[in-house]
Amino acid sequence: MKRKNSVLSFAGVVFCLLLLLLFNKTFDSYKMRIFNLCAIYITLGLSLNLVNGFTGLFSLGHAGFMAVGAYTCALLTLSPANKEMNFFLQPILPFLANTEWPFFPALLVSGLCAAIIGFLIAAPVLRLKDDYLAIATLGFSEIIRVIFTNTQRLTNGALGLKGLPNYTNVWWSWGVAALTIVFMIRLMRGSYGKALKSIREDEIAAEAMGIDVFRHKVISFTISSFFAGIGGALLGHLLGTIDPLMFRFLLTFNILLIVVLGGIGSITGTVIAAIVVTVLMEVLRVLDSSIDFGLFVMKGIPGLRMVIFSALLMAVILFYQRGLMGTNEFSWDSLGKRLRRIKKRGPK
């Protein structure tokens, strides 16, 4: 049974790789961008799910950590000439003026920077619970944004940074997404992940079992910030432009939407929801512009997209209370069981 499952898993991986190759060949640049976004949102969704879903901490600070990652990576990779062009109001701080790192180390450092900020914020914030924690993390994320708006010589302030090299391609975005998925699966299977879940279930009981609750929370938060930073950096290098406004609460909300839709505490759910939400966001974009029905033209209502999305979210919460997957995960065994059940019902 085990062997059969690993063969199936291997086949699945090969299939995904082939799909990736195929899409890479056939997609135009618009589709390619959406395809990359899917992967980035998988990374972001999983990192938020680690804190909100698995550890049971209601954090709303994701956009802040993404901003740290995106800015770090941009500042490290932009060419000196490009920096001079960007910083035309005030010159950039001298120590950054001449850095031009390759993508990989820059990406790693942006994750680390976000993790450090996450770690520093965790110490005061994680003593809070529930709503208070949500408000405090949201506050910190806004503080980061405000700081970035006002440190003209470091971040170019409200003008943002333009001309980021387009490093983010399928290999980077999906490679990172795959690594994140594998990392999360291994983490949650191990005793560490079980300890995080036990904290979500019953903090006092977890503490009584000898689990250092606060330390685990800090570690979970720091890891989550790390991946948020990486996701932010990938996003920046996909879009080519970043500015503080991009990292408003709305961005955190989008990721939260993915986590809730997929099932708080399900890796599979997050992956599926990330793809569905990203694609739908684009498909539904037509709603915001005017639509020609032939007989009449419906005037576009900007924001209708978000209305539909919120309705969708409510529907899922009403019917599936705990998201599409709940806390369940995909496995070949459960798929097999389901197929057999359908087959049994079939011939009747």
Partner: protein, 234 residues
């Protein structure tokens, strides 16, 4: 094995424990009885380091553990079965048990203890993959005890294991407590069910509003008139 000396605990302004002294000798069953709000749970929580004491000392095997972290206390072999079971409802029975062994590293010994727990509670083995929240109350209590045993305790603190269980199951639980004790685990048992708790105990303490008002062997306490009137209902 465990000595609690003049322990005082405050919750904000309220004084929950007003200087209690307990001795729990090696390999014995010691019962702690008392009315609601007497401070029984507080005593256990303070021993585990979950609540800070404002005065007094807790000695375990001669070592002062009064200000020790819970994690370290569990590692030295003291573990609590909390009041109201508190299993992890969305985790499976197996995951709950594994979490009980969180402070341990030795995989082989953990496997051995898993088998031991399943021998003690065959019902749990059948339900290995069931979510703990869907177990019956009695099964959840068994899981809570099993989970605590997975940490390979030398001293087991049990907070009202018979709470909310049917008489037959209560009998089972007390039989299991005796069995655990016969395997060499020292037990400090907190109970509302004073009769059963004193019958099983080698020695007992009566707690009233944060003070130890009576102590003696289980038999002595069962025959004491004050105890009879206040806790045995006759």
């Amino acid at each position: 094995m465990l000595k609690v000396e003049n322990l005082t605990v405050h919750y904000g302004g309220i004084q929950a424990l007003q200087g209690i002294t307990l001795h729990v000798p090696h390999k014995r069953i010691i019962s702690l009885i008392g009315a609601n709000g007497a401070g029984k749970s507080t005593t256990l929580r303070t021993i585990m380091g979950l609540v800070k004491s404002s005065n007094g000392k807790i000695l375990y095997d001669g070592k002062d553990i009064t200000t020790e972290k819970t994690k370290n206390i569990v590692e030295t072999g003291v573990v609590m079965v909390p009041e109201g079971r508190r299993v992890f409802p969305n985790l499976t029975v197996m995951e709950n048990l594994i979490l009980g062994a969180y402070a341990r590293k030795d995989r082989e010994a953990i496997e051995r203890d898993k088998k031991r727990v399943f021998k003690l509670f065959p019902r749990l083995m059948e339900r290995e993959w069931q979510k703990a929240g869907t177990l019956s109350g009695g099964e959840q209590q068994m899981l809570a005890v099993g989970r605590a045993l997975m940490s390979d305790p030398k001293l087991l603190l049990m907070d009202e294991p018979s709470l909310g269980l049917a008489p037959l199951i209560v009998r089972d639980i007390f039989m299991i407590i005796r069995e655990i004790s016969e395997n060499g685990v020292t037990i400090l048992l907190v109970e509302q069910n004073a009769k059963a708790a004193l019958e099983i105990a080698d020695y007992g303490f009566v707690l009233e509003t944060g003070r130890v008002t009576l102590e003696g062997t289980g038999k002595e306490l069962l025959e004491n008139n004050d105890v009879k009137r206040a806790y045995l209902g006759d």
